[in-house]
Subunit: 474 residues, 2 copies
């Protein structure tokens, strides 16, 4: 599992590494501090597996610590499996065991296989873990002992996470108490439980098209028909909602108001109000997907959550895009009268998620991790790489920069989305055609989604391959 070393091995300068490790701690030997700081950078994925570390000499100069300290720290890194020394290559940071393969967010046509060697996977759009995740795990590990003398079942979640999520809703403008929160293992489980309660078999649901395909799979299991409402970059039109609703017999409406997947649209407060009024008139319950809501990129005043307008709505939120998909922590927020039935539905498909991740997620939410400025700057910069890159390479493609979220939704000048995706695969770029997102499961040949969750170097290369693929198609 050792990384290949070659002339092209990434490296980090002593100046940069010194900034990343911060300042020495006074209460223990400096070599221990340095070794642990570097280990934590590697474990957190901020210092990538295979990066060449600065020479000991340059670290001594940059840190202002003794040669002995740096030598001992590097030796300890090697002893613990976080570095290897190779003749002529210096010291290489490694992750013990190497990075794990796989882990992409699944798409409904099946679990994405591991991409062919060298391919860039643009089918999914979830970021890697936030910095600080491994230390949050370590902190939670210190407290897991509080739970081990019990059986470990918390079907609606441990108090800590219910409180943290309720508090965050309240901060966002929707007063919420912890007993309105049911923790689920991912948003899909929350959507499945909510669909059981709100929809009932053979009923109808109104949903935006395009939409997140995994949610459509879950909704289709419960209902006889999904009635589509079109949505583009600027959100769905209240008039279109009204036409779809009248005479549809639908009992519920599925909506992603905060950075819609895949259009990136943010529904403004005025339309939230109008939609809520429409739902009240037609006795529809809103089922609101808020999994992207914390991924704000632009400086803007966010409208209050949809359930502040439609008080009977059931909201599904998640830390998967905000902190890490591998935590599998999500929740349902609902009015109190629905908590009982939702708990029963949730228990028919699972008796609760693990305790540890709920502690980790509660800890990080309380610290504001995942919705901080650093995350925002990184998303803004990645969005720019994809947007500017495609505008330059493919000037007849059009889009509108989404104010948040993880993807751009492009309109192609000719309806060749499926052909493009086929050609892109030949170029080593895996994508989903527009039809994947269509409620009708076909059409949307004029559209394609480009995520911007990957590292910038990968995004730049993805744009190059995309342009080559488009040239083959047209």
């Amino acid at each position: 599992m050792e990384p290949a070393t070659s002339a092209s091995t990434a490296s980090i300068s002593a100046t940069r590494l010194v900034v990343m490790v911060g300042t020495p701690e006074v209460d223990r030997p400096a070599y221990q501090w340095l070794s642990e700081a570097v280990r934590s950078l590697v474990a957190d994925g901020r210092l990538l597996h295979g990066t060449r570390l600065p020479s000991e000499r340059s670290m001594v100069a940059a840190l202002g610590l003794s040669r002995t300290t740096v030598t001992r720290a590097y030796a300890e890194l090697r002893d613990r499996g976080y570095a290897t020394a190779r003749q002529g290559s210096g010291t290489i940071a490694v992750l013990p065991g190497g990075p794990a393969a796989g882990g992409a967010e699944p798409v409904p046509m099946g679990v994405p296989g591991s991409a062919p060697a060298g391919a860039i996977d643009w089918r999914s759009a979830a970021p890697p873990a936030v910095a600080g995740l491994t230390s949050a795990y370590a902190r939670a590990g210190e407290h897991i002992g509080r739970f081990v003398s019990g059986m470990g079942y918390f079907p609606v979640g441990i108090p800590e996470i219910r409180e943290a999520v309720a508090q965050r809703y309240t901060e966002r403008g929707l007063a919420t108490s912890p007993d309105q929160i049911i923790v689920t293992t991912g948003a899909t489980e929350g959507t499945a439980a909510a669909a059981q309660v709100l929809l009932g078999r053979g009923s109808r649901v109104i949903a935006e098209t395009p939409a997140y395909p995994n949610s459509l799979v879950t909704l289709r299991r419960e209902v006889s028909r999904v009635v589509p409402v079109p949505i583009t970059w600027d959100g769905s039109d209240v008039g279109a909602w009204e036409s779809a609703t009248v005479g549809s017999g639908a009992r519920a409406a599925f909506l992603t108001p905060d950075f819609h997947n895949p259009t990136g649209a943010l529904l403004d407060a005025e339309r939230r109000d109008q939609l809520a009024a429409l739902w009240r008139r037609h006795k529809l319950t809103g089922l609101v997907d808020e999994t992207l809501a914390e991924l704000v990129i632009d400086d803007l005043t966010m409208p209050a959550p949809m359930a502040a307008f439609a008080t009977s709505a059931v909201t599904v939120g998640s830390v998967s895009k905000m902190l890490w998909g591998g935590l599998r922590v999500a929740w349902i927020r609902a009015p109190r009268n629905l908590i009982g039935p939702l708990t029963q539905a949730r228990m028919s498909i699972g008796l609760g998620g693990p305790v540890m991740e709920q502690m980790v997620a509660a800890d990080l939410i309380r610290r504001g991790v995942g919705s901080d400025n650093e995350r925002r700057d990184s998303l803004r910069s990645r969005r720019r790489v994809v947007m500017d890159g495609i505008h330059e390479a493919l000037p007849d493609w059009t889009t509108v920069a989404p104010p948040g979220g993880l993807w751009l939704w492009w309109r192609l000048p000719v309806p060749r989305s499926t052909a493009l995706v086929r050609a892109a695969r030949e170029e080593g770029l895996l994508m989903l055609p527009g039809s994947t997102f269509a409620v009708a499961e076909s059409g949307l040949e004029h559209w394609v989604r480009t995520p911007f969750a990957l590292p910038e170097a990968d995004l730049t290369e993805a744009v190059v391959r995309l342009a080559r693929a488009w040239a083959r198609v047209t």
Copy 2:
């Protein structure tokens, strides 16, 4: 959250504590070793919150270490919040934050509320975490870094746990490869996914009665009718299965062959073979609940897993009873031709469980934790406390000692199960009436289940309260 101290505070002798902490490690200061060993006992629940530690003087004598070492270790325990010193009471071991409330395995009539003060909860039957869980978490924490650069979604499970589970099936006599394992978040999720694939709406399923009520809730969501087959201590009768099957139109059979819940019955190899032949003749697929299979108590040769007899069967297993419910790691084992459809079904209700617990469970399964002799001795001893206690106090109640599992199933001399449960509540003992386990959701008034997963002192007291309750009823 500090424990009350009183004359009745539990204490531990220096001799006993010295055995539990093991031998000093040579590569670091003895005080650090001692402090960490005690912390780990407290975190693992082996040294209970509120236990009075031996005096420093007696530890010095028992350990053969210096007074300074013991004093520093005790000071470090206090500094880290794992001990408090109180005038006249010595040093008390505490869990930082105190033990968490709740965590009982839920029962289908709702999430069990916290029991009234002083009540013993005999409604659920899951043990606390195995010893060694917190160190397994610490080991897994060292490796979580391998996963954080990916998105963290593993809808069928990470390779490590699929391999460990497949290996364990092979050891138990059922050759299995990792690609036949789909990891789920608890057995209920596995049962829900399997029910989607095997049953289909409006179909029928044959199931033993009594049965695990959470599974019945999940099955009822998919089928029009659950056709019952009676089962008692010695398992279900193949003739009864045949009568229930012929003309039922059922497509699947739900079975718990290894320490059935609640009867504790173990299905022998001969009947496994006969049942498998019956299923083949009638084109039934077996849905096998194996969540108790590793909880063997008596010295016996276990028959091979049911799927070794019925090769088309789908099996659901879990670590909840074997390691800890709070891990929420379970799996489906299926023939290869069903893995695709089962994966799709699993993804319609959730996109996978967290990475961390899969690492922890794989680690512990590979080490044989949870099916070891220590666990077996503890279960045997607890079974004896309940069995002998009830035989003595209520000589006209009858049972048969189950060869494994976590409960005894008693036949009452008169059909007063519901009345007994009501009276038991008055005595501070929470139980479930026999009807909870009935497929028909009523009846079984002659029966009651007594779990033996609790600490022995609680079990002894539970039997006293049970006898008092029965006296009120008769």
